[in-house]
C-alpha cells in the first residue's frame, strides 16, 4: 500500500489537523495509527499518529487516489521519505498557535524540498483565531523572501470546503505545463 503511485501527502507538525483534514475530503473514514500520547505531545492532544493515516478518494473510473497523513513527530522523519515516494503532491498544514509557526513552515518545506520540486505544495494555516502567533502576511513574506510563491490559505481542517480548495489549488499547480 505504501508504494501505491497515486498519492497525496498531508504533513505538518503535531496537532496541525492532518488526520482531520484527510478525513474531511476522503470517501471513507481514515485508517489511523493513533496511539495515546506519552511524550511532550501529551501536552497538546490525547492521541497522536505514530505510523501514518490512510484514506482514499475514488475517481469516476473506479481508480483511487490515496491520501496519506505523515506522523508529526520529528523522530518519525524516516517515514516522510517512504510515504512521499511516488506521491503527486504535498499538503503542508501549519498550526498558527505553534510558538514559531513560520519557522515550522520553513522546516517542512526544507524537509520535503526534493519532493516539492518534483511535484507541488499547498500550505494550510490551521488553528487560526485561537492563539495566533503569525498573520497570513508573515507566511507570505517569508515565502517571497525565499522566492517560493506557494499558496497559503487559512483553513479549518474540519471543513471539507476549505480542504477541497487546498486540493483544487494543488491540482492547478500540478496541471501547469
Amino acid at each position: 500500500m505504501l508504494f501505491e503511485t497515486d498519492k497525496i501527502i498531508f504533513t505538518g507538525p503535531v496537532g496541525a489537523g492532518k488526520t482531520t483534514a484527510l478525513g474531511a475530503i476522503s470517501d471513507v473514514a481514515p485508517v489511523s495509527t493513533d496511539v495515546a500520547a506519552t511524550d511532550s505531545t501529551k501536552q497538546m492532544k490525547r492521541t497522536t499518529t505514530v505510523g501514518f493515516d490512510y484514506s482514499y478518494i475514488k475517481l469516476n473510473d473506479g481508480k483511487r487516489v490515496h491520501l496519506y497523513g505523515t506522523p508529526g513527530q520529528d523522530r518519525f522523519r524516516f517515514m516522510w521519505k517512504i510515504l512521499s515516494r511516488t506521491g503527486i503532491g504535498l499538503v503542508l498544514l501549519v498550526p498558527n498557535d505553534h510558538e514559531d509557526p513560520v519557522g515550522q513552515m520553513e522546516f517542512y518545506l526544507d524537509a520535503f524540498s526534493d519532493f516539492i520540486k518534483k511535484t507541488g505544495v499547498v500550505i494550510a494555516i490551521t488553528r487560526s483565531g485561537i492563539n495566533d502567533n503569525a498573520q497570513i502576511s508573515d507566511y507570505q513574506n517569508k515565502l517571497y523572501e525565499r522566492q517560493q510563491i506557494y499558496p497559503v490559505f487559512e483553513v479549518d481542517a474540519r471543513s471539507s470546503n476549505d480542504v477541497n480548495i487546498l486540493i483544487h489549488a494543488l491540482l492547478a499547480i500540478l496541471m501547469q505545463e
Binding site: D6, Q140, Q148, I149, F153, L166, A169, A172
Partner: protein, 346 residues
C-alpha cells in the same frame, strides 16, 4: 461615531427549478445554501416554477422540456442534460451533476445577476446629499464622465492614499473605511455589503472623517473586517473590462503571493491564473494565451489582486523562476485530469 443603520435589503436573486430529479434537486438546494452563506442575496421559489431570474431545469424531463420553450430571453437558464448544449443566456451542465461544479456555477451566475440588479436598484433611489460633507461623487448630470467606476475605486483610493472616509449609499448602512489601518466597519449585512461594493461611484457619497471616528473595536451591530477582503470582492464585481492602474496588457506581471482563496470569493479559473503567475512573469495577453481563461476574467482577477498588493508589475527579471523538475508523463496528466473532474474542476 455610530454607523447609521437602515434595514433595506438588496434585491435578492430569485432562483427556481423545474423537472429536477431528487438527487439533482438536493444538489441544487445544497448549492443555494452554499451561495447564501457566501453572502449572495438569493431566494428559492421551488421545483415547479419558471419565474426566477435563474431557472435550473432538467432537459430530459417533460416539465423541463416544456419550460425550456416558455422561458423569457432575459431569464438565465442552467440546463442539466446528458450532453452539454449552447445558447444565449444559457449555461449547460452535463449529467451526472457534481455538487462542487453546481455550487461554482450557481455562485457565478447569481453574482452576475446580483450585479445587474444592484446597478439598477440604486439608480431608482434619489441621491441624498448629506450636510457638511465633501461629496466626491459626480453629480447626476455628469454620470457618463466617471465611466462605470464603482465602490471598488473609492476603496482603492482610500487604501492608496491611506485615507479614513465614510461611504454612503442611499438606503444602506454607512461603510467606514480606514485606508491606513486596512480596516472596514459597517452595520451592513454580507448581502448588503456586496450590493454596496457593486454600486456605481455616481451613487456613493464619500465623506472624509477623522481617524478617531473609526471604531477601534466591533460594537453592537458594527462589524470590523479587513479592507483587503472588501477590495478583493469589489475588484471581482467590477466587470468593466478595464485595468485599474498603470498596467497594460503587454507588461509582464507576477504574483507576490497567492490570494487567500479559503476566505475570499473566487472562481476556479483564478486558481490556474495564480498557479501560472506564481512561477513566472507573464503579460496579461500571454496569460490569456497560456491558460485560455477569458480576458475579462483575467482583468477582474488582475484588478482584485493588484488592488490588495499581490501583484508585481515588471518584476525583477534577475530573480530566478521557480522550476519544477516534473517529467511530462501522460499517465500522470490523465490522473490529474480525472482528479480535477472528481473535484468538479473539469
Amino acid at each position: 461615531m455610530t454607523v447609521s443603520s437602515n434595514e433595506l435589503s438588496p434585491t435578492p436573486v430569485v432562483i427556481s427549478s423545474i423537472g429536477l430529479e431528487d438527487d439533482n434537486l438536493s444538489a441544487v438546494m445544497d448549492a443555494i445554501e452554499f451561495v447564501k452563506n457566501k453572502g449572495v442575496a438569493c431566494r428559492y421559489l421551488g421545483n415547479d416554477d419558471i419565474k426566477g431570474h435563474l431557472v435550473i431545469l432538467d432537459l430530459e424531463s417533460d416539465a423541463g422540456k416544456t419550460a425550456f420553450e416558455q422561458l423569457r430571453p432575459g431569464q438565465v437558464k442552467l440546463v442539466i442534460s446528458e450532453e452539454k448544449i449552447a445558447g444565449k443566456n444559457l449555461v449547460s451542465l452535463a449529467k451526472p451533476v457534481k455538487v462542487v461544479a453546481l455550487k461554482t456555477l450557481i455562485e457565478r451566475i447569481c453574482s452576475q445577476i446580483e450585479i445587474q440588479l444592484a446597478s439598477l436598484a440604486p439608480k431608482k433611489q434619489a441621491a441624498v446629499k448629506a450636510a457638511n460633507t465633501t461629496n466626491t461623487a459626480a453629480p447626476a448630470s455628469d454620470k457618463n464622465d466617471s465611466c462605470d467606476e464603482t465602490a471598488f475605486h473609492v476603496l482603492y483610493d482610500a487604501k492608496r492614499t491611506q485615507k479614513v472616509l465614510k461611504m454612503n449609499v442611499n438606503g444602506y448602512p454607512s461603510v467606514l473605511v480606514h485606508g491606513k489601518g486596512n480596516s472596514l466597519a459597517t452595520e451592513a449585512t454580507q448581502e448588503q455589503l456586496r450590493t454596496i461594493l457593486a454600486t456605481s461611484k455616481d451613487n456613493i457619497i464619500v465623506e472624509d472623517i477623522e481617524a478617531s471616528d473609526f471604531p477601534a473595536a466591533p460594537s453592537g451591530k458594527t462589524a470590523l473586517s479587513p479592507l483587503d477582503s472588501s477590495l478583493w470582492a469589489a475588484g471581482l464585481l467590477w466587470r468593466s473590462g478595464a485595468l485599474i492602474d498603470k498596467c497594460g496588457p503587454d507588461q509582464p506581471v507576477k504574483l507576490k503571493a497567492w490570494p487567500n482563496f479559503t476566505r475570499n470569493s473566487f472562481f476556479p479559473e483564478h486558481l490556474s491564473l495564480s498557479a501560472a503567475l506564481a512561477v513566472q512573469a507573464l503579460s496579461l495577453n500571454k496569460l490569456h494565451e497560456t491558460t485560455k481563461v477569458p480576458m475579462d476574467e483575467i482583468i477582474c482577477f488582475f484588478n482584485a489582486a493588484y488592488s490588495v498588493g499581490l501583484i508585481d508589475i515588471n518584476p525583477d527579471h534577475s530573480a530566478p523562476a521557480v522550476t519544477r523538475t516534473v517529467k511530462n508523463d501522460t499517465n500522470r496528466q490523465g490522473l490529474l485530469s480525472k482528479l480535477a473532474h472528481r473535484f468538479g474542476l473539469a
